[in-house]
Symmetry: C2
């Protein structure tokens, strides 16, 4: 088994081609899943539902036991013959070596991985495996849970989620089709990207937010208890993802370090400018702070809404409800009778009181209809 990392073969920034891959038929088994964690076990469970034979392997024998009990397949062992597809579902730092080993061991199999970074892995396999890399396709199912391991697995984990595949010019058409078939079997939306484009986007949209959430939450660790206790919903929303697995995430961040470091350094520069301006306290300093806040507002406006366009401005209606069973049900039933489509819901519990604020977001032109309907039914509306 080789352990090379290898240079990045994709020097230029590649354009994204977010074109759904055409239906590629059924998954040809048997499928060998290497790594019986959350992702690998979930894939096995889904493939077994479809009747595809699945073999499970993991350096942690107990993880395989759990995955087998969950219905993800049977334990891999001698005499089973060769798989048609190998899914390498292990932390990114080990993928290139294990995938290259699988390509060598099973000379007819297509090998896929499911790690959250792609360039280094694709390049590493190309360097380690040589021409056999034509049978390796990097993929990244964009689904996850705040739990990990086979106990958290579920066969519908990938349903309606994006599943990025990052084929290269070296790939055979049949290998690409096999990767797409795997994603489609899991009811995911297949998105085809260049490896570098995937990693650059992931650095901005996933890896940087994880670092920032963790660093922000880290400031709470040693803070006086009385400072922490006044925190509100804004801070809470920002540190929600700070509860992720430190070992796995350290590996993910390291595996995408060439994309993460530049955008992290740009963020640090911006924060440093604000820190300097706060100490400087002159008129030009105030402009530095204001300019960053303006850029943040402009950047936020670029986030897509659920239909892929820029985020629209929603209106909202905030309702005060008693914090007891059934109240939310009554509220949403009332909203349903008003025939409005809610775009978002936020619940804010008032501190030390038995009340909750429910902020319902909806299209601005429907706000009056919802407010009127709720008032008519006796709800307490703020504003």
């Amino acid at each position: 088994m080789c352990s090379c990392g290898g240079p990045n073969l994709f020097g230029k920034t590649s354009a994204m081609t977010e074109v759904a891959v055409p239906p590629a038929g059924r998954v040809a088994g048997p499928v060998l899943v290497v790594g019986a964690g959350l992702i690998g076990t979930s894939i096995g469970m889904r493939l077994r539902e479809l009747g595809v034979p699945v073999w499970l392997d993991d350096s942690d024998s107990r993880a395989v036991d759990v995955a087998v009990l969950r219905g993800a397949g049977e334990r891999a062992g001698p005499g089973q013959g060769d798989p048609a597809l190998v899914v390498v579902a292990i932390p990114p730092g080990s993928v290139a070596a294990v995938a290259s080993d699988m390509l060598a061991r099973y000379p007819e199999a297509v090998v896929c991985d499911v790690a959250g970074t792609k360039s280094g892995i694709v390049a590493g396999v190309a360097e380690c495996a040589g021409p056999a890399a034509a049978r390796f396709v990097g993929t990244h199912p964009m689904a996850g849970r705040e739990v990990s391991g086979p106990n958290g697995a579920r066969s519908d984990l990938f349903e309606h989620r994006r599943w990025v595949i990052t084929p290269t010019a070296a790939n055979s058409e049949s290998a690409i089709a096999a990767a797409a078939a795997l994603a489609e079997a899991c009811d995911a939306v297949v998105v085809r990207l260049e490896p570098e484009a995937h990693d650059r986007a992931a650095a901005l949209a996933s890896h940087l937010p994880q670092i920032v959430a963790s660093a922000l939450a880290a400031q709470l660790e040693a803070a006086p208890a009385e400072d922490v206790v006044v925190s509100g919903q804004g801070l809470r929303d920002m540190v929600r993802i700070a509860d992720s697995d430190p070992v796995l995430w350290a590996d993910i961040l390291d595996s995408n370090r060439s994309q993460v470091a530049p955008v992290l350094n740009r963020l640090i520069d911006d924060l440093g400018s604000v820190a300097g301006a706060l100490v400087g306290h002159g008129q030009s300093d105030a402009d530095v702070v204001k300019r960053l806040l303006e850029r943040g507002s402009a950047g936020r406006a670029r986030l897509p809404d659920k239909h892929g366009g820029a985020a629209p401005k929603y209106g909202s209606v905030t309702v005060v409800v008693s914090d007891r069973p059934g109240e939310l049900g009554r509220l949403f039933a009332a909203a349903g009778r008003a025939q409005v489509n809610l775009e978002d819901v936020r619940i804010e519990h008032s501190v030390g009181r038995l009340k909750a604020f429910i902020e319902l977001s909806l299209l601005p032109e429907r706000v009056d209809a919802l407010r009127g309907a709720l008032v008519d039914e006796g709800w307490e509306i703020l504003g």
Copy 2:
């Protein structure tokens, strides 16, 4: 009108005394509200509901017109006599000067402010106003909206919210009672803090998150469109507050710069350590990253839940619903019939599909009951 800033008179870190102030009776009017923005107009509207005479002043005459139309009081003018209470509701950078001017102009009145930082203002008034500062009480109603100005005002803006008051040893008891009565008249929960304790807590719980959200969102401004489009719920939650008013927030951050700069610099140091470790890419570097992620997880666990204790681990049930009117109502009605109390709700719209994922959070021991009830009624449950 003086314009001094003055040194910080509260050199030592003060302990928080989160003791509710005893009921202090009705608000004695007339009340002069200086600044017809969101907060000032909302206070005026509430006091008018209670029958308290309110006069409104603002350098922007049109803002006063709007506030009068909203029912927040009448325009301040000659011949009205002296107010019993002045509420200075303007951006923090101007509060000390205006409050000191009011103390000099109305020698019997109690003067309060409502700005989001307190030490500099309290110290500034003490320096500018001298012994008259005994009649000034700094306050901070912890309520706000993502809109600003008198059009967004509402009389119930402060209901069930914390309203911090920061009296000093120099204050008269009657001045403290008048400040508490104002907060109570607005149905807020009065919390008494030292000015420095307020500002240190606000820096961590409010001002730092605002800077971080804006800086993170700012990285989206110049990013390629294809990078922005793959962003998910994690990033979206983290930049929600990046849409705040840049001018007001630049002033707030500047007014609390002595508390914000140190915690911002600690955050920058942590981020810089991660950036350095990613470039370094050694074993000790991996430990640096892992350690930050662990600290983040520990810090997040310190956030209080709605009852003031540490945040419990909730269980969750995720339901797939059609993205059309009435579906949420049907879902929550079903949850209500299951007699479970939902602690939180998150809606995630699947991209380009007419489905939404509704994650319902609740006590772990109630998860099975909810899941069973929803399955029985035919809902599509993930996992």
